[in-house]
Subunit: 617 residues, 2 copies
């Protein structure tokens, strides 16, 4: 049986009923009622409890109860009175569990016995009403900041209505782990909260309050943590408690869906621990590259884009048998130009002008990949097909673009396209090296989770690039075998205006496609009409000073507008950019040597400044 | 003579020529050319140097030269070759000084003698070309991270073309100071960079790269730092080096003006140190409250707003003799409703609908205040006046709203207004307690500097408030005598949409005015028709649990929709909000007791959720 899934209302945006409805809609079984969400709501606790029941949601916990234990009098007495008031609220809500987090007040007494006595008294009062108290160590608690300290106090207090609450963030953010948890009786583990986070070097309080992420979006070993808790015998709900400014500002259903997706993936990652989920996820696909990228165009844009691609050696290689769709091909690269009216592509063109509307990944088993996607809340999507044409399954990425699933080695072209004879230009591209997407602010973490969960891609750490008008945050997802590489960019610039190259694409998806060339210089030389992006001479002067390149080598780079990067192991990256097509997207020619595994980030500022200049012209 | 003022190109947005033009336009005398700005520019160093000369800007320094000293061979040799190339660039730019920052490479040798020998060699080569080398300790340098370590190395190297560069951020961010600087010969102090910053607990590298501020915007003792440097005999330029993501995304001239304003203020703050500025700033005004707030309205909005105010006991107390302007008054509060066509108010109404367009501060000496503002790059502004009417001087705030300057104790009403008889409603307001402005993202630091510099207000630390859809950052400026209090809010929510109460006002300036009442409950009770904001019952339940208020006291608060806060010293704050007027702004009734000096931030989430509900209806 999969673990019961719960989410704290603080994770989601909007008023309390919006949060509850979204949680229920996507499929959560329970919610933590976060106190501030109740205080700011104009319905009574009874009404909230009723709404939860109507929606089929259990109220798993009421939280937090702060700054309770080990206070001097008269605060101690007053805190117990306060607890009685909150017990009233819990009974009205219909939950039996309250979370007490360790006291942060400077006045907290440093005596564990006092803390234990206070919690015992609170538990005794709770038990009289059939309620329970869970105690959790806050990472920044005054006297108690580790779960072992909290457990010592719970053990000393020794009351059946008092137990321990664990939170992955509070433990992992301190560099701590769960070693020793097996000594805690399972019935004393009252509740489990999970949160991931990026590794940030800032104070743990700010880190916790603003930058938490859903499991799988960050860099903490949350799955290992959960496995340890399950092995210790915990069998209650897993509950998400994520404080994140971006999530609080995003549409509530999207975030709720991301939240549940993260727990479905976790379920699968802890398979083998007890309890075993009944229906394990189908395995992630083995990827073998990008079969094609599809552009939404109209007739005029199709002509223009075909001409633009022609300067790089592409040729029209096929026409769709029943739709206004053409195939442009150069070596191992397939680009589909779709101007069919009334299609998903037409919708996209309507919204964004010429833009990438789909991408096809080669997978070992499309059916299995589709089943996995469905289990991860990404339903299949099907474009209408003509008689005798192939039905290529697809799923929608979080921004609505399509990801087609093509069986590795199969020929998807012959059935649907009338292929046109012609020779390819030499030298040829070997395939698509990477596809870069510009996301709207607030969308990075959701995309990361989607690609990680559905396609099993690895996420590299976040990287920051300066552009002429702000900062671009970049995170790359890639297959372990590197046949698929998908850098994701988000511009942090708040303003949109002219001259903002990157942010102009925010939300419009793919802004750049890199083609792999065995010899980038030869390829550019063979494409004299290609509108390559001009690189300032100062760049080459600096390259000479930094890397000590030979004059001849420098001159060759400069002639072809090529940029150059080198990694610590001597891997080399030679690349050139085209100018942008209708200010919408551009192409890159890349040559990797010696195991170079990055994307020339050192050159990004030069590229972006050159593009800003080009746009100005 | 005031200190020569310089700015690093990295502080400003846009392409290199835009940066240089803005720096020259606002009045800088010099610029630091930041290497990356040159590398990404498609003009040659000669062209950049010529442009600077044409603009009347000295190139004060070329920077940074990284990871130079104490490297093992062959890197050492290669670094010296790299230096020669950079010397070429400097000569082309027309500057004689390069900044070498302490090496961050793991391979840096831990030997100060090696560092000294390398810098000596570099200085010797520079001297042959008439150039100089300045060495600066980066706060995160591998072996050298304090200015004293850098000075030890410069002293050991002992070359006339080698000196020390100081940077306030690198010293102050480490909690270090300049004690001992008097032992350094003045001729060894080659250059001075200044930057402020908020106090943030994060790693110093990220802090430095993203969150630096201009002096006066942050919390570091930059003026003390500068005073120490001047006392040590430094007589070169003061130069700003600010890495800030928001500044990089803002219009270049606005940021350049903020930058120069910060240095003009600094000049004044270090008066008494050597050299003495020739023309000290006129002293900041002594404030005595807010004489009036003025709203831009049209005829319909004037009627509606007058009616709205009437429910709070305001009455029409005067009509302007020559313009479509009326005075609404309640006790000590004056509100001006301006529907005059072709005025600054009309412009504002055109842009924002009904909105605050001006505010008048009572100052001891308007002429002196005006002269100070002018010296701080905030020129005077003058509305046209009718025959016999008063000419009230004003300056423009950074968002274009007007700040009038009224001499304390003078009567500005009798000349211009036909005052209407009538009794005020009792109980009366005693005055305007505070005026809250919602700023567009990226404008907080500029406003803070404006009010601090021009009016001598104190800035409290930044405060963060959760709203239902994101985070609001708040920082309050107030007069030392607390007669003027101006909280500034910025919504961090990226999206704008319905239901976003705070962000709806972003950029529209004042969104709320608080009136001081001796007895808030009595005032609200006397205003039964006032559309007060309804507060959920859960709020009062929690208040009871938290503060242990008496039932009668709670009931009285709840009846009048009053919120309550209490500070650690027992000061009390009782306040109530009106609903918003036409979804644009709202009013607050506040009662302070026992020295309470805050703004009820604990209740802000309750208020914002209630407003979001009201908006939805």
């Amino acid at each position: 049986m999969p673990l019961p899934k719960s989410i704290a209302t603080v994770c989601l945006s909007g008023a309390l009923p919006d949060k509850l409805e979204a949680a229920a809609l996507v499929g959560f079984q329970g919610v933590e009622i976060f106190e501030n969400d109740l205080l700011t709501y104009d319905g009574s606790p009874e009404e909230v409890g009723r709404l939860c029941r109507d929606l089929g949601l259990a109220v798993t916990i009421y939280q937090p109860f702060r700054d309770f234990e080990a206070m001097p009098e008269p605060q101690r007495r007053r805190n117990l009175d306060r607890a009685e008031r909150k017990f009233d609220t819990m009974q009205a809500l219909g939950t039996d569990l309250i979370l007490v987090c360790s006291n942060t007040q400077p006045a907290t007494l440093p005596e564990a016995e006092r803390a234990a006595a206070d919690l015992r008294e609170m538990a005794e009062r709770a038990a009289k009403r059939g309620l329970r108290v869970g105690y959790e160590a806050l990472a920044w608690g005054r006297q108690v900041s580790l779960w072992r300290q909290a457990w010592d106090i719970v053990r000393q207090a020794d009351h059946p209505a008092l137990g321990l609450i664990l939170d992955s963030f509070h433990t992992l953010s301190r560099g701590d782990d769960l070693a020793g948890l097996e000594a805690v009786p399972a019935e004393k583990l009252f509740f489990l909260q999970l949160a991931d986070a990026p590794r940030l070097s800032m104070d743990v309080l700010s880190w916790s309050r603003h930058f938490r992420l859903f499991p799988g979006q960050g860099e903490l070993p949350v799955a290992d943590f959960l496995r340890d808790v399950l092995r210790a015998g915990y069998a209650g709900p897993v509950s998400l408690e994520i404080f994140n400014d971006e999530f609080r500002a995003a549409p509530v259903r999207r975030i709720a869906r991301d939240a549940l997706r993260s727990l479905v993936l976790l379920d699968d990652q802890v398979r083998g621990a007890v309890p075993v989920p009944a229906s394990p996820l189908p395995a992630a696909p083995t990827l073998a590259g990008i079969e094609f990228v599809e552009f939404a165009v109209d007739d005029a844009a199709r002509e223009a884009l075909g001409g633009f691609l022609g300067t790089l050696g592409f040729r029209r290689a096929g026409l769709h048998r029943s739709k206004a769709v053409e195939l442009q091909r150069q070596g191992g690269v397939n680009l589909v130009l779709n101007s069919e009216p009334d299609s998903a592509a037409a919708e996209r063109f309507e919204m964004f002008g010429p833009a990438v509307c789909a991408m096809a990944l080669r997978v070992d088993d499309p059916d299995r990949a589709l089943a996995r996607a469905r289990a991860l809340l990404s339903p299949a999507w099907q474009e209408r097909v003509g008689q005798g044409e192939q039905r290529i399954p697809a799923i929608r990425a979080p921004d609505g673009t399509l990801v087609y699933l093509v069986r590795t080695g199969s020929d998807i072209w012959a059935d649907d396209f009338q292929l046109l004879p012609g020779e390819g230009g030499a030298p040829a591209f070997t395939g698509i090296d990477h596809v870069v997407q510009a996301l709207a602010p607030g969308h990075l973490d959701g995309f990361v989770l989607f690609y990680r969960a559905v396609f099993g891609l690895d996420a590299e750490p976040v990287f920051e690039l300066p552009d002429p008008f702000g900062i671009v945050r970049s995170r790359t997802l890639s297959a372990a075998n590197r046949t698929v590489r998908l850098p994701l960019n988000v511009s942090e610039s708040r303003q949109t205006g002219t001259g903002r190259f990157v942010s102009a694409y925010a939300g419009a998806g793919v802004h750049h496609i890199a083609f792999a060339a065995p010899d980038a210089a030869a390829l550019v030389a063979a494409a004299p009409d290609a509108p390559m992006l001009e690189i300032p001479e100062n760049y080459y002067d600096d390259l000479a000073a930094r890397l000590g390149l030979e004059d001849a080598q420098l001159a060759a780079l400069q002639r072809a507008h090529l940029l150059f990067d080198q990694d610590a192991q001597g891997g080399r990256f030679t690349h050139a950019y085209t100018q942008a097509f209708q200010d919408r997207f551009f192409f890159e020619v890349v040559e990797r040597r010696g195991g170079y595994d990055q994307y020339g980030a050192a050159n990004a500022a030069v590229r972006m400044a050159a593009q800003a200049r080009q746009q100005k012209k």
